[in-house]
Amino acid sequence: MTPPLEVTESTAAAPPEVTLAGMSKKAIQGRSLSQIAWLRLKRDKVAIAGAFVIIALILAAIAALVLDRVFNVIGPNDFHQDLIDTEGGTLAPKGTFGGMSLEHPLGIEPVNGRDLLARIFAGSWISLLIAFLATVLSVLIGTVMGVMAGFFGGWIDTIISRSMDVFLAFPLLVFAMALVGVMPDTVFGLGSETVRIGMLTFIIGFFNWPYIGRIVRGQTLSLREREFVDAARSLGARGPYILFRELLPNLVAPILVYATLLIPTNILFESALSFLGVGINAPTATWGGMLSEASRFYTMPHFMLWPGLAIFVTVLAFNLFGDGLRDALDPRAR
């Protein structure tokens, strides 16, 4: 019998279709798509800068928690009313630029004189935590719904798609406000802050899922038509195998990208809710809440500048990173 091999060794070492500069082509065994994406991402300076800011933020948020609890630095809720102009009655910080000083680098709040820097830091973890958790929730619901709709099709698809329409037709913010207003404040003996965070997470996360759901559904629909799904079926694979082993790994990239881009949206959503007065309870600092308070003192713009900047930088960092990630995972998308 003739050996079925008409292939010489040169075929075996055929160059990968995706080649990268400076990479020896044979050096890496089995470079997966994610590894390639990572290599691409590493070269995207802006995205990496975004990632660094995000990491710094997370560290700062953790530091804020630890410092607040462990070390006795200026607390985010400590009053400094001695620095407030109470005699003149204006209740503005004494001194220029909102009471900026070495001790209070970003100045202090009017009325009670709380340190803005400390509050910005303290606010970071709430913002990030809620945004992260809400994103996780949206992604979970969105993925499950999207995959179900896309994979099963038929009436399941119809129902899920219609319910996504319903969600999209709701004036979300109004709805979220209404919900926050009527939701109980304490549940299962949990403290009000925990409940509040949970509730905000739920509301933000719950209302954002249709967006990711649509994307996942679309992706699933197109993946479902790929022949490798048929290949698996022709090998006798069951539904769950196809779903989890064949489809999901391919959905990870778009989901990841969308999640990174959803986080900034959720940060904005949380701050919007706080701004509208339905966020986390006082005195816990949140950026949106600080902005909302600052809006009452618009004559002292420095007061709204810092939380506004904090939101901006965070959101920007996530957006930059998300953009970079998308480009890295799907270089064609841009």
């Binding site: 079925p4 091999l5 292939v7 075996a12 089995g30 048929d230």
Partner: protein, 361 residues
Amino acid sequence: MSIENGDAVSAQTETQPVEAKRTDEALLSVEGLTKHFPIRKGLLQRQVGAVQAVDGLTFDVKKGETLSLVGESGCGKTTTGRLLTRLLEPTAGKVIFDGKDISHLSVGKMRPLRRDIQMIFQDPYSSLNPRHTVGTIVGAPFKLQKVKTEHGVKRAVQDLLALVGLSPEHYNRYPHEFSGGQRQRIGIARTLALRPKLIVADEPVSALDVSIQAQVVNLLEDLQTEFDLTYVMIAHDLSVVRHVSDRVAVMYLGKIMEIADRTALYERPMHPYTVALLSAVPIPDTSRRGNRERIRLQGDVPSPVNPPSGCRFRTRCWKAQEICKVEEPPLAELAPGHRAACHFPENTDKLTIDPTGASHS
């Protein structure tokens, strides 16, 4: 070499009556196979029509032979392939594999049979999951069918890779690192893992360059010999089909127009459609330019949603007459082992005409 076996089978074909084979030798036997895709509309998803993708196919595939399905785009080749592998459930008709009617088997009942029927896909890019390593892809059949291998799955996969001409080191690589031809080999390795009896190959080489195409065609032939495989080969390139098949079925708009032994079909095509198809194939020979007798079909294939009445080919057939409109010609055996569905078949006088229009060299 490999082809003797096939020739032997086709030689048999010519000497034995069809009925006899159907009972004892057919590995796969298809009767009145039909698939209509419903077209639904509106809120209530009412069915307003159907794409008659495949309409009443009847044929047998004998053990060890290669049967090819050819036809223009949209004539239902892929659908047939998917029906045979039961990726689709037929609307009507029967698929009998190895004596067992699998037409309406449930997914669970079908699972053990999947070892015996495998499929090679057309698109080497979409048929491999980009997130899986070659090892995972080729190992999937073992996993899915819970097959124990002697030296472990990895070893088995590496053997398969070697078999299809890939290096066993490729085990941990991802599909995107391979060229189209190599991917197709990976797909073939996966197909072979369970040592199937029947392989349905849906345009296995259409997406490949000529040079690679030849490699894969040779590989498929070699494997057929080695493992005693039976192929149902779907293709539209008539030259390739002639090279690989023992018997050929020509499809048009969901129906078989003509089915015959390779030589018979290429040398004495009976159905006008087959004649036209053959004469449309460009020949890489400049000397034949101009002196080749061509039959040029006019227009396009009608929609399978409402195919023409009577003979489906009549709208483009130069021989069509009133009867073709009214009466559907049966797929009749006009010569031993040679069936055609035409009211006015060609080459019935057994005159040998070179379909390429040139004198025989």
